[in-house]
């Protein structure tokens, strides 16, 4: 048989027109902590190239190792294969420089949240750096919940491509994201992001621009209230969890979720929410503060509301 011919398809459309929609092929991630690793893995497993930026090579290596560990656990428990892992890993590259984001279709900033709005300036700077290298239709997004996208993008030249995409990471079933349009966000940017979310098989929930979105604002109050009840002796931790799970139909109880997300992070969310709304229900409960002071941040540190073994399996209650 004669050799395979390879051609470009553009010549063969019935109607010669300019096709404006562009496909996603490359996603950039700035700051590759827990969320960043999760987003990188998800994007890569749906066939997208991913580039992650961290401040040092060491941190890049660390992030990539964590993603690998996660894939290993998926192989152990979910019938993922070594070849899937290889494919996922092969699409993820690391960098320490913004230049490598040049050909990205979407860049998501997932830098750590600092309390009292301290991360705001850092994020803003990232957006400005990004604008220097990416093309004008590249979407710039933040995964942050407590920073408002309109504020983040106000100094940019092409503000209309900025948007907020918040991923939920606490369980394999949390296949849902919150998307927020800012003041300047264009419809096409929203459409494009919706298409991206659809591509990685998530459900998109549109949320109006507001600190904490729906998820964080709701969850922080639930957790605070749950802690309060423990302190008041109204119910013990396990019973509250059980009631939320069986009674209210939540998949995980508030304390378990807290340990997965990390108490350090939650307390910063709370601080930012308190600054925004001035409502004391957002102030971190003393129980949370106590654990943070002891550096018991949750699963990541092996101890939070619960104690964990080295595989991240819950061992027992700690309070």
């Amino acid at each position: 048989m004669s050799e395979t011919i390879i051609e470009s398809i553009e010549e063969y459309g019935l109607i010669k027109k300019n096709k404006s929609t562009k496909l996603f092929s490359k996603v950039g991630i700035v700051g590759c902590g827990f969320d960043g690793q999760y987003i990188a893995r998800v994007c890569s497993s749906y066939g997208l190239d991913v580039i992650i930026k961290e401040s040092s090579q060491e941190r890049i290596d660390n992030s990539i190792r964590k993603i690998e560990e996660n894939m290993d656990s998926r192989i152990r428990n979910w019938g993922a294969t070594e070849s899937e892992k290889r494919a996922v890993m092969s699409r993820i590259k690391g960098t320490t420089s913004f230049i490598d984001f040049k050909h990205c279709d979407l860049v998501i900033e997932t830098m750590p949240t600092l309390g009292a709005g301290r991360s705001f300036e850092a994020r803003k700077q990232v957006f400005e750096e990004l604008e220097k290298v990416v093309s004008t239709d590249c979407i710039l997004a933040t995964n942050s919940t407590t920073v408002v996208i309109s504020d983040l993008s106000e100094n940019l030249e092409y503000k209309e491509r900025c948007i907020s995409i918040h991923f939920m990471i606490n369980s394999v079933d949390s296949r849902i994201v919150e998307i927020t349009k800012g003041l300047y966000t264009a419809d096409w940017a929203f459409e494009k992001v919706s298409q991206f979310v659809h591509m990685i098989k998530r459900k998109a929930i549109p949320v109006e621009e507001s600190v904490g979105l729906i998820s964080v604002r709701m969850y922080t109050v639930i957790l605070n209230e749950a802690c309060e009840m423990v302190l008041e002796g109204i119910g013990c931790k396990d019973d509250i969890e059980q009631l939320m799970i069986t009674g209210l139909g939540m998949r995980q109880g508030p304390f378990t979720i807290a340990d997965i997300i990390g108490l350090d992070r939650i307390s910063r969310w709370m601080e930012n929410l308190f600054n925004e709304f001035g409502d004391s229900r957002f102030k971190p409960n003393p129980l949370i503060k106590r654990l943070i002071r002891q550096h018991h941040f949750g699963k990541e540190t092996g101890r939070g509301f619960y104690l964990y073994d080295k595989y991240g399996e819950k061992i027992e209650s700690t309070i």
Binding site: S2, I9, Y12, K22, L23, L48, G79
Partner: protein, 400 residues
């Protein structure tokens, strides 16, 4: 008369273009990775020349547009004008209880098909997209829908009912539908044609073993039982699907692993089956290779696969009180002699005697692989769903 056959999947479109006067394939191919990075159209021309067209294919409509563009192109096409296409036949996965045979597509049919989306949320929407795209691109084109479930609509009530509250059947149509109907129909009719026997008085068991796999019992020219059920998950162990599974075990796992319905559905549809057992691959060829090299899990998985098929063959032999032909088809059924042997060995008591030598020599071609004195004729018949769809399409537009 020329007929285009389309099979639209969630991110791919398979097409074949037939000249019906002599049933030849003028062109065939695949649009791959629709909406994804690396999307392309692969065309195989009548002379066997393969052409790969690379570029952005954002959705099904654009994919179909390119298919039509390529077919009419001067360089690689086989027709000059779209008007040379007499009709388009679509493979549609789920026809529910509304369709027991192929139909000419009109608004009413589309409305019925939309109702079936709930039963096949993954498959029916892309099928509908394909139909819509053709209507947009070539208005007034005759389109025919050929349903995967239609052939099994003749199953008797005692075969298709689950033992769950009857109201669930009446309210939501929870029952066994079965799939691969076009393939089962094609190979069983073909077997009778080859043997020169009357289709309507033979008892036939057909095993469509591919990435998806199902067994059907065919009596009096009608499907009377099949192994896939409400969804294509039930029955045999497949590439990545679990097949028959104790619901209690499924629910136990959901609770233990703290996963919701969607993850569970993913688990049983995408991470189970041959892939889940072996952690090697969902591709039987790779599993055969590993088994050959001594991988124990691969050996076990192969045994499990064969074992499950064997059980269905026995069950359907009992249900029909006999069997005249046993047919193997689908990628595995047509090519994997070792699997056919694994299934048929030690089945002589029921009248199945496989001829090992003939079996070993048979790859992807029509052949009888049983011994001359085997009570049941065991046959390999490559399936040809596309041709079946083209023939159905032709029949319907000629009647019009």
């Amino acid at each position: 008369m020329k007929i285009l056959v389309l099979n639209c999947g969630s991110s791919s479109i398979k097409f074949q273009f037939f000249e019906m006067t002599n049933q030849t394939v003028l062109a065939k191919g695949l649009v791959d990775k629709i909406g994804l990075n690396g999307s392309q159209l692969i065309l195989t021309k009548q002379d066997g020349q393969v052409v790969v067209f690379q570029g952005e294919i954002v959705d099904h409509k654009i994919g179909i547009e390119y298919v039509l563009g390529v077919l009419t192109s001067e360089k690689h096409g086989c027709i000059k004008n779209l008007s040379e296409i007499s009709a388009v036949g679509h493979r549609v996965v789920h026809g529910g209880e509304a369709f027991s045979s192929s139909v000419l597509i009109d608004d009413e049919v589309i409305a019925e098909m939309e109702k079936c989306i709930e039963l096949a949320p993954l498959h029916n929407p892309p099928n509908l997209k394909g139909i819509e795209a053709i209507s947009d691109l070539i208005p007034d084109m005759d389109q025919v829908g050929v349903f995967d479930t239609a052939f099994h609509q003749t199953m008797p009530e005692y075969s298709y009912m689950y033992a769950i509250p009857y109201s669930l059947y009446k309210k939501y149509g929870v029952r066994r539908y079965g799939f691969h109907g076009t393939s089962h129909r094609y190979v069983s009719e073909r077997a009778c044609e080859i043997e020169g026997s009357e289709f309507c008085n033979k008892k036939i068991i057909s095993c469509h073993l591919g990435n998806g796999a199902s067994v059907a019992a065919i009596q009096n020219g009608q499907s009377m039982d099949t192994s896939m059920g409400l969804t294509p998950l039930e029955g045999l162990i497949m590439g990545t699907r679990a097949g028959d599974l104790d619901i209690g075990a499924a629910l136990f796992l959901m609770e233990k692993e703290n996963i919701g319905v969607e993850s569970a559905s993913d688990l049983f549809n995408k991470h189970s089956g041959m892939l889940g057992i072996t952690s090697i691959s969902s591709d039987l060829r790779e599993i055969h290779k590993a088994a050959h090299e001594g991988n124990e899990m691969a050996q076990l998985a192969m045994k499990m696969f064969d074992y499950r098929v064997k059980k269905y063959i026995g069950a359907y032999t009992a249900a029909m009180n006999g069997c005249d032909y046993l047919i193997f088809t689908g990628g595995i059924g047509e090519n994997a002699a070792i699997t056919r042997e694994g299934i048929c060995k030690e089945l002589s008591w029921l009248g199945f005697d496989i001829d090992k030598e003939t079996n070993n020599k048979t790859h992807g071609k029509e052949a009888v692989i049983s011994t001359p004195d085997s009570k049941v004729k065991i046959m390999v018949i490559p399936t040809n769903e596309e041709l079946m769809i083209a023939l159905d399409t032709l029949k319907i537009i000629e009647k019009k």
